[in-house]
Amino acid sequence: MDIEYKFLKEIDCKQGAVRAVRFSVDGSYCVTCGSDRKIKLWNPYKSVTLKTYGGHGDEVMDACASCDSSQIVSCGLDKSVILWDVATGTPVRRFRGHAGPVTTVRFNEESSMIISGSRDNSVMCWDGRSKAQEAVQSLNDAKDSISSVRVSDHEILSASFDGKVRTYDIRIGELCADYMGDAITCASFTRDGQCLVVSCADDVIRLIDKDSGEQLGEFRGHTGKDLCLESSVDYQDTKILSGSADGKLWIWDLVSQNVVANLSGLKPTKYATVSISVHPQKNCFLASNGSNVLMWSTLSHTDDE
């Protein structure tokens, strides 16, 4: 079972530090959030900038494209969440409800609702359809900054620096908080939705069973250095990916918990790899590194291309 990862591309985004890189829903485009208050829409395969979205008052921290790729939602240190029209590049809506910098934002499956997490310890749900300015619901359970928010079809997953992963089950109406011992930098669902991949600040990535809260696996080796590293599973739920302070993309085997690969670009970098994004339909990874975005893919898929 030898999987080779091939370094495909390095794109210099030219928008300062890239805070986040996100594939679109179909994986054909990606969005990068720059520290120069701009969002850029890319065709990462051709390294072409399609559009630049400017309107944030401060660094853009996260973005997410809607399911029909007609809208992009972004959030930034200016405490606002902005909904963009992709085609025109104009902000459709601007939600100002957070009291602190907004660090993470996600659409729900239908892209009708926007969930954002902020350093004001709150997760807010915004209705993208109505013109209401206020948040539809505010989840104020966290005791510290929200580091990541993920949305499944019926759950909202929020990770906080207070060391707890909170799963809000809308279907049951239940909040489930799992204590992880240390600040959590990222928590995400696996593709099958049964487990949670939780990155802790103590340089451990934990695989948590969603239903029982038990730990299924531990992944170590990377260095955090108090960075808000992101982690994810690959397309087939067989690997765990994580950024690292050493500027590499670490990949573990989910079952054996062994390090499979440390991916890096051609040039050695002094920057850390913080944000990662996995192609929704194939094993193609994007990682932000400084002002660049790096792209890897498994060999088999690149052959197909």
């Binding site: 729900n108 499956e109 239908e110 009708s112 609702m113 749900c125 209705d127 359809r129 539809v136 619901q137 989840l139 359970d141 079809d153 019926h154 809000y168 089950d169 809308i170 279907r171 049951i172 109406g173 239940e174 909040l175 489930c176 908080a177 799992d178 204590y179 992880m180 011992g181 934990r206 948590i208 029982s212 809260g213 038990e214 730990q215 531990e218």
Partner: protein
């Protein structure tokens, strides 16, 4: 005759046939209904009023049955439409063009031909055909002019008259001139500006026989004023609109000549647009001729109505007025005053009224220097201490003060050491014990304060008492006050001098020398500032106190919980052991908003459920809370400290002994001492004693009050004795060594003590118990006794001192005192009897009184001692209504005790129990607190 008559008359014409009356046809008059109007075609119709009106109805339309039809325009390649010129007649009925229609079309002589002269000219229609090659009026028309002379003129001409001449006999030149002059004079007087052109005068006037025709008569016309306008004002000209014939169809054509081609534009131009604000003149027709087509100076077109304008402008004055020949003397205009040479115009504009006025620099010419920090502060009105006082002076002053303070502290420590030594020597003396149990340092401090001789208000005293307690605690742990000052929070860290002063203030506070603050305040400070700072420090001190207190509290409250059940800790432990799962998981209710469910396409969970009640209490700590605690903590601290400082108390008690006189002199002090004198007596005993006193307390009080009969020095003795008694009694209680009274006590105990703990809850029950007990003991009707009973057990020694009675009833007490000496131990029942007898008359008042006294705790004087001492009789008491103040003063001690209990830190469930127990008493306490104040007031006023 007839013949002759007939012959005489000549007849002309043929006579009519005589009327055949029978054959006259009977003509019915035609009724109005039968009268119909017919038109030319014989169509029956009503044709307006007489003939001029329009006929209505569908007949009266243009041509067809459907009326007027818009013209069709059809044009094709082969069949080109020719230019059809529409005429007004196309839109008119036949009748309209008939003789009586609106546009008659018959041939008739126009006015030009019908009339002659000016009148005809007016009506002349200018039917110029400008379309011809020659512009202007047609030449032929000019040439062939119709004859317009009237018959009169024709006749005159025939008689030799020529136009331009006057009518009349011929005149010589002189005559003619005379007439002319007369005319002119007349004109001038009338102010008629019209100047007639005079005939050129012939120079040769010698020929007198030459006669001339007279001048044409010029009618002199006065313009009558036929309007109400002001003089010289001519209103809007209405004639323009009303008199002119509005030609609907013929618009004046606009002609432009360009390159030998003449363009003529017909039709209305533009018109009124929908967006134009107003149509200024709806009757005015807009046509192209009104537009400028070339750039250049505007030409004035002469209109019909603008004829008058030039004449009026020439004259330059109103109608009927003459220009003045002499100019009016113009007003003299004075020059404005000249400014002095050195005047510099400066105008500083304030940006807003909230800005301070900008100070104009006095120095001329000099540029304003940039502001330094001090200036800015001044502008901003920053209350910076540094500005107010020179730093050097304060530092010196503060140094001195701190030195003295240190000295003071040293003195204190020395004193204390001495006292401690003394204590060790006299450790076993009863006085120590007495003081240990009854006094805290607060009282002593109060005394000290008294030594200084400063007059203190009650509040001040209270505060000092509390603070002194605190200070005593602090000094007990650390003798050097400077240590404390270092420790104190830097509340005024921004202002080091102030901070220093605050620290010193804290020290003063500890030593109860608050007045000394003034001495360390810099001289530069105003009185107001001093006061301000004083209050500021006071508050800060309180705050600090509370902070210290809160720190303690937090430690206490958090520590045990952390140890016991901290889920977080558990979870942490679990994480450490990698036992994720149940331990690290917390499940809780959460209700998603309905719109969230909607957007997620999920049915809303738990619809109809009550909103989740989170038992998480939002605990918010605010400064005010802490301040509140600070107040309540006074008492707790007092009691706690008391125990801690047991060793210290003896020495203090000595002081009290020495200064008993002073104690008496200051009642507030007494009460405060009492206030602090809470003893760690077991609950059981306290209750027992309370109930005991309820039964027997009266007698004791009687005795007490009798003690007050004596002069003040006596009282001090009593005081001592009583304290001794109390201490002894307490000791005795433990050993249960009793005298005569003990028998009763024992009995009472036997009956009552078993249930005494519970009975605290229910007052009425207790009452009944007491009554029964008493009745058993005394053999009296319980009701009678009840009326007089003191339900509030006296507590504390000084509380029983009634100073009021000292003043008011000393005389009668003296009378009774001799008799009272003979009172034996067995006299109690009799005393009660006597009381009852006396009280019967005062029953009503007494009831009211007895209702309010609260329960009292604390030791009472043993009967035996009382009797030994007894200089009092029961009668004295019963006579004395002044007993009530005694009760009141007792109350003071009780509340103090209660509050100490309330302020104690007890476990929660315990507290609840306590609360239950106290429920009963609380309302009484409130009442009593009122009375307490009252009594104090009374005392003060009496002093």
């Amino acid at each position: 005759m007839s013949d002759s008559e007939e012959e005489n008359y000549v007849t002309f014409g043929v006579p009519l046939d005589p009327l055949d009356e029978e054959n006259i046809p009977r003509k019915k008059p035609v009724t109005i209904e039968d009268q119909y109007a017919y038109d030319a075609q014989g169509r029956r119709r009503f044709h307006g009023a007489f003939t001029g009106g329009f006929s209505a109805g569908y007949f009266n339309t243009v041509g067809t049955r459907d009326g007027w039809r818009p013209q069709q325009f059809k044009s094709s390649r082969c069949n080109k439409a020719d230019n059809i010129i529409q005429r007004p007649e196309d839109f008119m009925d036949e009748e309209d063009t008939s003789l009586f229609g609106i546009a008659p079309k018959g041939i008739q002589a126009t006015s030009d031909y019908a009339d002659h002269g000016q009148k005809g000219k007016k009506r002349e229609r200018i039917s110029q055909d400008n379309n011809g090659p020659i512009p202007g009026a047609p030449v032929l028309k000019e040439l062939l002019k119709p004859v317009k002379e009237t018959v009169g003129i024709v006749l005159l001409k025939k008689m030799g008259w020529k136009p331009g001449q006057g009518v009349g006999s011929r005149l010589t030149k002189r005559e003619k001139q005379k007439i002319k002059q007369r005319h002119e004079r007349l004109k001038l007087t009338q102010g008629n500006p019209e100047i007639t052109g005079s005939n050129s005068e012939d120079s040769d006037d010698n020929s007198t026989n030459i006669t001339f025709a007279p001048d044409d008569y010029e009618p002199f016309r006065c313009k009558p004023k036929d309007n109400y306008f002001g003089i010289g004002y001519s209103g809007l000209d209405r004639r323009k609109i009303l008199s002119g014939h509005i030609n609907l169809f013929d618009t004046p054509a606009f002609c432009v000549q360009d390159k030998n081609k003449k363009l003529s534009i017909h039709g209305q131009a533009f018109g009124v647009g929908a967006f134009e604000a107003d149509d200024e003149d709806i009757y005015e027709k807009e046509d192209m001729s009104r537009y400028d087509f070339a750039l250049g100076p505007e030409r004035k077109t002469k209109t019909r109505w603008s004829q008058d304008a030039p004449t009026s402008s020439q004259i330059d004055c109103l109608d009927g007025f003459v220009r003045a020949k002499e100019r009016l003397v113009s007003k003299k205009i004075f020059k404005p005053p000249e400014l002095p040479k050195d005047f510099v115009p400066v105008h500083a504009v304030r940006k807003s009224r909230f800005y301070p006025p900008i100070a104009i620099p006095v120095e001329n010419g000099k540029r304003r220097e940039p502001l330094n920090a001090v200036d800015r502060a001044r502008i901003l009105e920053d209350p910076d201490e540094r500005l107010r006082k020179p730093s050097s002076s304060t530092s010196v002053a503060s140094n001195i003060i701190s030195n003295t303070l240190n000295l003071h502290g040293k003195q204190q420590t020395e004193e204390r050491k001495k006292l401690q030594n003394q204590q060790t020597t006299t450790g076993n003396s009863w006085l120590d014990k007495l003081n240990a149990q009854n006094f805290v340092k607060g009282g002593v401090d109060g005394l000290k304060q008294n030594d200084t001789g400063s007059l203190k208000t009650l509040e001040d005293f209270k505060e000092s008492a509390s603070t002194s307690v605190q200070s005593s605690t602090e000094t007990s742990t650390e003798y050097d006050p400077s240590n404390k000052s270092e420790k104190s929070a830097k509340l005024f860290s921004s202002n080091p001098d102030k901070q220093r002063r605050f620290e010193q203030y804290l020290i003063f506070l500890k030593n109860n020398e608050r007045n000394k603050l003034e001495t360390i305040q810099p001289l530069s400070m105003t009185e107001w500032e001093r006061e301000q700072e004083c209050t500021e420090f006071e508050q800060a001190a309180k705050l600090e106190q509370s902070n210290n207190y809160m720190v303690d509290k937090f430690i206490h409250s958090t520590d045990p919980t952390m140890d016991k059940t901290d889920p977080q800790k558990d979870a942490k432990e679990a994480v450490r052991l990698k036992m994720f799962g149940k331990l690290t998981r917390e499940r809780s209710e959460w209700k998603p908003a309905s719109i969230v469910c909607k957007r997620f396409n999920i049915p809303e969970p738990k619809i109809g459920c009550a909103p989740i009640v989170t038992d998480r209490k939002s605990v918010k700590f605010s400064i005010f809370d802490s301040l509140d605690w600070c107040n309540s903590s006074k008492f707790t601290k007092a009691t706690e400290q008391q125990r801690i400082q047991m060793e210290e108390v003896p020495q203090l008690s000595k002081k009290t002994e020495e200064s008993t006189n002073e104690v008496i002199s200051d009642t507030d002090n007494i009460s405060s001492i009492d206030y602090q004198s809470s003893e760690p007596v077991s609950e059981k005993f306290r209750i027992f004693e309370a109930s005991y006193e309820k039964v027997f307390g009266k007698g004791i009080q009687n005795i007490l009050s009798t003690t007050s009969e004596n002069a003040k020095q006596d009282v001090s003795d009593n005081l001592k004795d009583q304290t001794i008694q109390e201490i002894e009694k307490k000791q005795e209680i433990g050993t249960a060594v009793k005298d005569q009274s003990n028998e009763k006590k024992d009995l009472f105990k036997a009956i009552f003590l078993s249930s005494s703990e519970d009975s605290e809850d229910s007052e009425p029950e207790e009452k009944v118990d007491n009554e029964t007990v008493k009745s058993i003991l005394i053999g009296k009707d319980p009701k009678e006794i009840n009326s007089q009973r003191n339900t509030s057990p006296p507590r504390g020694i000084f509380a029983k001192l009634d100073l009021d009675s000292l003043v008011t009833h000393s005389k009668c007490v003296n009378d009774e005192s001799t008799a009272s000496k003979s009172v034996s131990e067995t006299s109690l029942p009799t005393i009660d009897e006597m009381q009852d007898n006396l009280m019967d008359c005062n029953n009503v008042i007494e009831d009211a009184e007895t209702a309010m006294p609260p329960n009292m705790y604390g030791p009472i004087l043993p009967q035996r001692l009382l009797k030994q001492e007894s200089t009092a009789t029961t009668e004295v008491d019963s006579v004395n209504q002044s007993l009530k103040p005694v009760f009141r003063s007792i109350v003071v001690s009780k509340t103090a005790e209660d509050s100490t209990l309330g302020g104690k830190w007890v476990e929660r469930d315990k507290m609840k129990k306590l609360k239950k127990e106290k429920k009963k008493h609380k309302h009484k306490e409130h009442k009593n607190s009122k009375h307490k104040k009252k009594s104090k007031k009374e005392k003060r006023s009496k002093h």
